[in-house]
C-alpha cells in the first residue's frame, strides 16, 4: 500500500514537473509563434541569386502544417518575386514599403551609402530596418568551348580577361594553368574570348567583382578602387582603396577594353540571361550563381583556391568552407573592430567584403551571402498594411528557413549553403527586433 502510494505520488509529481518544464520551455520560445487563424499574403521580392532557394523554402513550408498555404482567406500565403537586387532595394524604400505586398526585399549587394541615407529618410532611421543574410552560395564561372573541357582559371587571369588584357583563349596565361591535353586544344584556338556580364546592377556581379578585386596577383584590386573612373585604361595608374561595386561591368571596363583592343563585354539580363547566352555562344565565358550553371553546352571552370593553390569546382561544401573561414575571422578571440566589420555579414558595414578568396584548403573562392532587407517597425496605419499575424508569419518563415539551410538542389546538386551557427544567432537576434505597432513580434 505504501509503495503503491509512493508510486502514485511519484507519478503525479513527475507529471506536474514535466508539465511545469514544458510550460517553462514554451515561455522561452525558441521558435516564433503565429497567432492561430492568421491569414493573408506575405510578399517580397528582389535578387534573382537566391530565388531558387527561397522558392524551395516557400514550397516546403507551405506543404507542412505551419499555418502557410495557398489560400489567403484561411492561411498565410508566401510569395517571392525575383527581379534584381536593384529592384529589391528600390522597392524596399519605395511607396509601397511595409505594405503586405512589400514586406521584405532580397539583395546580394551592399546598400550603398547614398541608398542607405535615402532608405533611412524613407523609413525614418537606420533602426527601422535591418539587413540579414539568409543564404549563401557559390558563383560558377562558365565556359562554352568545343568539346566542353573543364578549364582551370585563377583570379588574376579572370581579371585580365574582363579588363581586356587577355583577349584570346590561346593566351599563355590561360593555357599554362591547364592540363596538357586541354592546354594543347586551347593553344590551337584562334578565337577571341566572348566575355559576358550582367547588363544591370547586380548582386551576383558584386560577389564576382569582390572576388576579382581580392584575388592573388591582381593589380590594384582589378580596378575596384575608390579612385576608379570609367575612363581609366591602365590598372597601375590607380592608388585608391578597395571598393567593390555592383555596377555594370561592360560600362565600367569599356574604355579599358577599347584601349587593350578587346571587344566589348556582352551584357545580359539576369543570371538566366547570362547562362542562355553562354550556352548559345561558342568561346564565351561568364559568371552565374551555381544553380544557373547547368546547361548542355556549358561547363563550370575550376577556380584556383587562395590557400593551397588547388583548383576547385563550385560546391556547397566549398561554399560552406569559405563561409566558415570568414566566420572564424569575425568571431576569433580578440578580433579587432575592423576585422569584424570586414567579416560580419549581419547588417554589413561599408567595409564588409563577401567571403571570397578565403584561406581554407577546400574553400571555394567565389562565394557570397545573399541578404534580406527587413523592416523592424511594421505598423497597421500604413496603406495595405499586413496584420500582426502576417508579420508573425514572416518572422516564422525566416527563422524556419534559417534552420532548414541549403535545401535547394538542381537535380541532386546542392547549390546554396546554410549559415554558420554564430551568424544564425546574430540573425535571430535581428529577427527578434521586429515590432508590430510597437510590440515585439517574437517574444
Amino acid at each position: 500500500m505504501k509503495t503503491a502510494l509512493r508510486l502514485v505520488v511519484g507519478a503525479l509529481a513527475l507529471a506536474v514537473l514535466s508539465t511545469g518544464m514544458a510550460s517553462v520551455s514554451d515561455a522561452s520560445a525558441t521558435t516564433p509563434v503565429i497567432t492561430t487563424g492568421s491569414k493573408g499574403i506575405v510578399q517580397g521580392g528582389g535578387a534573382s541569386f537566391p530565388n531558387d532557394q527561397y522558392q524551395k523554402w516557400i514550397t516546403d513550408i507551405s506543404a507542412g502544417n505551419f499555418g502557410f498555404g495557398s489560400d489567403s482567406t484561411s492561411k498565410l500565403v508566401l510569395t517571392y518575386t525575383k527581379s534584381s537586387s536593384g529592384t529589391g532595394k528600390s522597392n524596399f524604400k519605395g511607396g509601397t514599403a511595409r505594405s503586405a505586398s512589400q514586406m521584405f526585399s532580397g539583395t546580394d549587394s551592399l546598400v550603398s551609402a547614398s541608398d542607405t541615407t535615402a532608405t533611412n529618410t524613407a523609413l525614418g532611421g537606420r533602426d527601422k530596418w535591418t539587413q540579414i543574410p539568409m543564404t549563401a552560395g557559390p558563383i560558377a564561372v562558365i565556359t562554352n568551348l568545343p568539346g566542353n573541357p573543364q578549364v582551370k582559371l585563377d583570379g588574376a587571369t579572370l581579371c585580365k580577361i574582363y579588363t581586356g588584357q587577355i583577349k584570346k583563349w590561346s593566351d599563355p596565361l590561360i593555357t599554362n594553368q591547364q592540363t596538357s591535353s586541354i592546354k594543347k586544344s586551347l593553344a590551337a584556338l584562334t578565337q577571341d574570348i566572348v566575355v559576358v556580364a550582367r547588363d544591370a546592377t547586380s548582386g551576383t556581379t558584386f560577389i564576382f567583382v569582390s572576388f576579382l578585386a581580392t584575388a592573388a596577383g591582381v593589380t590594384n584590386n582589378c580596378g575596384y578602387t575608390s579612385d576608379w573612373t570609367n575612363s581609366v585604361t591602365n590598372l597601375s595608374s590607380l592608388s585608391g582603396t578597395l571598393l567593390p561595386a555592383d555596377a555594370i561591368m561592360g560600362t565600367r571596363f569599356a574604355a579599358m577594353r577599347t584601349a587593350n583592343g578587346a571587344a566589348a563585354i556582352a551584357g545580359k539580363t539576369g543570371n538566366d540571361g547570362v547562362r542562355d547566352y553562354v550556352n548559345a555562344t561558342s568561346y564565351s565565358l561568364g559568371y552565374v550563381e551555381m544553380a544557373y550553371s547547368f546547361a548542355s553546352n556549358v561547363r563550370q571552370a575550376a577556380i584556383k583556391n587562395a590557400a593551397g593553390g588547388a583548383y576547385l569546382l563550385p560546391t556547397q561544401s566549398g561554399a560552406n568552407a569559405a563561409i566558415a573561414a570568414q566566420n572564424t575571422k569575425a568571431t576569433a578571440d580578440g578580433a579587432t573592430a575592423a576585422v569584424i566589420a570586414a567579416n560580419n555579414p549581419v547588417n554589413p558595414s561599408a567595409d564588409y567584403v563577401q567571403p571570397v578568396n578565403q584561406l581554407g584548403a577546400t574553400a571555394y573562392p567565389i562565394v557570397g551571402y545573399s541578404w534580406v532587407l527587413l523592416y523592424t517597425n511594421f505598423e497597421s496605419s500604413v496603406t495595405n498594411a499586413p496584420t500582426k499575424g502576417q508579420v508573425e508569419g514572416l518572422i516564422y518563415f525566416l527563422n524556419w528557413s534559417l534552420a532548414k539551410g541549403g535545401v535547394y538542389t538542381s537535380g541532386t546538386t546542392k547549390c546554396y549553403s546554410p549559415l554558420p551557427t554564430s551568424v544564425k544567432t546574430l540573425v535571430i537576434a535581428e529577427l527578434k527586433k521586429v515590432k508590430f505597432d510597437g510590440v515585439t513580434v517574437w517574444r
Partner: protein, 326 residues
Amino acid sequence: MTGNVKFNRSTLSGELPFRLITIAGVCIAVGLVVALVGVIFERSLILWPAEDLWTFLTSSGWFGKVDESGAVTAAFGAWPMIWGTIVTSIIGIAVAAPVGIFAAIYLVELAPRRLAAPLTFLVEVVAAIPSVVVGLWALGELSPRLRDSVEWWVASSIGHLIPWLSEDPAQPSDTSVFRAGIVLAIMITPMVAAVSREVIRSVPQSLREGLVGMGATKWETIRLVILPTARVGLFGAALLAFGRAVGETIAVRLVIGMNITQVPPTLFQPGSSIAAQIAGAYGEASTIEKGALAGLGLSLFLITLCISLLVRTLMWRSADKMRAKA
C-alpha cells in the same frame, strides 16, 4: 444624327438621361486618355531642369542620379530606343505589308469560295496569340534559326558591302534588331491582311467587271485597277499595323537584347526599343530615371498619335475615293 424628336412628356422622361449616359461614355473615355497623357507628361517634367528635350531625344547613354545635396545629374539619351523602335517597326512593316496585302488579295480575289473563310480565319488568328507566347516561341525557336540562316547568309554575301548588314562571323549575336523586326512582322501581318481585306472588298465591283470585260488577266485586274484604287486604304492599313508594331513590348523585349546605351552598328546586333526599356527599367528606377521613362513614354505616345492621325486621314480619303469611283 439628332433625330426629329417630338418632345412630349413620355419621350422627355427617358431621353435626357439616356443622352447624358451616352455623352458620359465619350467623356469618360476622353478623360482617361487626357489623364494618361497628363500624368506621364507631369512625371517627365522632373527631367527638364537637368536635361533639355533635344539632348534627351538625340543623345545616347542612360545615366542619372541625385546625390546627397539634391543636385540632379541626368544624361538619359533616348535616341537608341527611338531608333530601335522605328527601325524594328520599319523592318516589321517592310515584311508584313507585302505578305499581308497579297494575302488579302488572295483571300478576296483568288481563293476558292469554300477555302476563303477558313483561310481568313487562320491568317487572322495569329493576331489573337498573346504577344508573350509569340515572344517565348521567338526566343526559343525563331531567333536561333534566323541567326543561323538569314542573318548569316545576308552577312556573308553582302555584309562587306553594306556595313549595317554585316556581322562578326565568330560572334553572331543571340539577339538582334533584325530578329525583333521579324517577330513584329509576324505579329502585325494579320492586321495588315484584315484591314486590306476590307479595303479591297470595298473596291467597286464595276471596276473589276470593266477590266474583265476588256480581256484582262486576273493579275492585270489587280495591278491596274484594284491596287491603284485601294492604294490609299492599303497604305493606311500598313500604317495602322506600323502603329501597332511601335507599341509592342514583350515580344520585342525578349528578342532584341536590351542594348540601351548605343545604337548598334549593324542590324544583326542587339538594340532596344522604347516599350521594352520602359517595361524593363521601371522596377529599379530612381525618381529621376522614372522621369526619363515617362519622357520615353511621351515620345512613344507622340509617335502613335501622329500615326493615328495619318491613318485616319488616309482612311477618310480612301473612303471618299471609293465613293467617287463607284
